[in-house]
Amino acid sequence: MEKVIHRSNKSDLFKNHDYFGIDDLLTEEHKMIRDSVRTWVSKEVLPIIESCAEQNECPLHLYKQMGELGALGPSISAEYGGGGMDEITYGIIMQELERGDSGIRSMASVQGSLVMFPISKYGTEKQKSDYLPKLASGEIIGCFGLTEPDHGSNPGEMVTNIKDDGDAYILNGAKMWITNSPIADIAVVWAKDETNRIRGMVIEKGMKGFSAPKIEGKWSLRASITGELVFEDVRVPKENVFPDISGLKGPLSCLSKARYGISWGAIGAAMDCYDAALRYSQERIQFGRPIGQFQLTQKKLAEMITEITKAQLLVWRLGTLANQGKATPAQISMAKRNNVWIALQIAREARQIHGGMGITSEYPMMRHMMNLETVLTYEGTHDVHLLITGHDVTGLNAFS
């Protein structure tokens, strides 16, 4: 049966939450970009997102709109169609997209951080000029293949491999939990060569032996498509391989970039839930007064805004370090882990404040909450990020 996406005419009542005046730390451009993305989310995402999530349908038409807006690869060089903007701008865009939905933010962060970033950093001139402008405009969609069915937190053990065959490599293996894979025109794939070194390459849709089946039955990120990548003797021209990068640092550098964006994005989801709960607490009357007057509701709201404020300060500092090229992967791990966790807690508490109404699609918390269960796990699980911090502070590696 064909799915019909309904457009709601509900007003977006969201108000900015900036308890510590962090806006004073942003430039006029940062604020203007935030307003632009916020307005776009309000006009184009929020009216359809509940319907998309309910029907498990990815709003593909948003790609070109995000391209036009400049939300795909904002920190990629303008020479290749990117925005040439700083890392705080990138973070702000992710925050605003995820205020709409983590799935929409995932569409943009995969395209920007996991596809455009490696091509711009490790690709040949031809790869950059062939792919980047089209990815930036949303004309083509990309995906990123690192995780495998049997190798999630431990990508170094991957079994997907390439074998030299003259002017090409023969690629075999499978990747799992790949955002966008069934709709992607290209995939940045990581595989081991015959000397066991991890290499990156661009695989194009239509290459013989390459398929990308959809993963069905997700209760999370339902407005975003997830799938597999299956390679059966795919002949990959050598010019499609990134020439000068080998080892795990290639894919991990992409993940650092994406995790950085997630640490901002999660605040968007958290603010949306807090905003809804704060408003509801002032409108909902029980025992003759608004429920916001009760101490237990105030405790929830006060803790939410406290955690949001801490998260905002954390990413602002992280963004400042990233602009200086000084943000470490361990710092990014801490920010991703903390901010996704607080967002998930806030979604749950905000749902509670809404009582029974909170479980319906009339309010955004359940959708954010289910999305955030994925965000907690992808791009490095909650526990793995903890152990990265543990390793960083003790100097002792829990994985070996």
Partner: protein, 246 residues
């Protein structure tokens, strides 16, 4: 075609409004400001569309101090080619109209656009005053305009319907809903806005003969009184004595 668009800074629509100086001025403390939506969504965008169709340039003009610059930059980010800020506090509609008219006169402006009103003081006065000062026709509350490069056909919202008029030559138009569709500034536009000219010019003299004596907030909405459908006497009494509408 030289197109001049009046850009006003107004409080954000959910701002809490308060007054100071014995209720004679607006207390801007803690208020977020935006570009007046009628200027941004309709006037500016229709001007940009005309430029895209017939060539020329779009100039955004604002009267105020440098705290208005972010709003002016937004107009540049949406697509205006250049901007002018008349560096003085905007004290009255007449004063603002005088500044805009003087600029339009000395810069060979073909069409002056304003929003149909600002969403703060809702005066809807500036456009008409500019037209009078320029001795040009004025089309208020325009919800549609076609322009073939020499002749414009304007549809105006009037009470209960519309009026369609035609004009050759220069004119002033105030934009209502429908004249254009909002454009969201994209990253490229925002970055380009930094490099576009924002010229700050001195004000011309104008009589400041209007003085605001006081502002007052609307009365706080009262609760609802339910009256039994059979008790018409009580309803009439309440309407007469409390609501004072009978």
């Amino acid at each position: 075609m030289n197109l001049l668009v009046c850009i006003s800074k107004t409080p954000e629509t959910t701002a809490k409004i308060a007054f100071k100086d014995e209720n004679s001025s607006f207390d801007t403390d803690g208020v977020q400001f935006i570009m007046n939506p009628y200027d941004e969504w309709y006037a500016l965008v229709r001007a940009l569309e005309l430029k895209e169709q017939h060539g020329g340039k779009v100039i955004a003009i604002n009267v105020g101090d440098s705290s208005n610059d972010p709003v002016i930059r937004k107009a540049l980010a949406i697509g205006a080619d250049e901007a002018v800020r008349v560096d003085i506090e905007a004290t009255s509609s007449f004063f603002v109209a005088k500044q805009v008219a003087e600029y339009a006169k000395s810069n060979d402006i073909d069409i002056v656009f304003t929003g149909k009103e600002t969403i703060d003081y809702n005066g809807a006065e500036v456009g008409g005053m500019i037209a009078e000062m320029l001795e040009q026709p004025y089309f208020s509350f325009a919800s549609h305009m076609d322009h073939d490069g020499s002749t414009a056909t304007v549809t105006r919202d009037i009470e209960g319907g519309v009026e369609v008029a035609e004009i050759n030559g220069k004119f002033v138009i105030s934009a209502a809903k429908g004249l254009a569709e909002q454009r969201i500034p994209n990253m490229r536009g925002i970055m380009m806005a930094k490099r576009k000219p924002l010229n700050v010019i001195p004000a011309v003299e104008a009589e400041g003969n209007v003085k605001v004596l006081s502002y007052e907030l609307p009365p706080v909405k009262g609760g609802i009184t339910m009256v039994d459908a059979d008790d018409m006497d009580k309803l009439v009494k309440l309407l007469h004595e409390e609501a004072k509408v009978l």
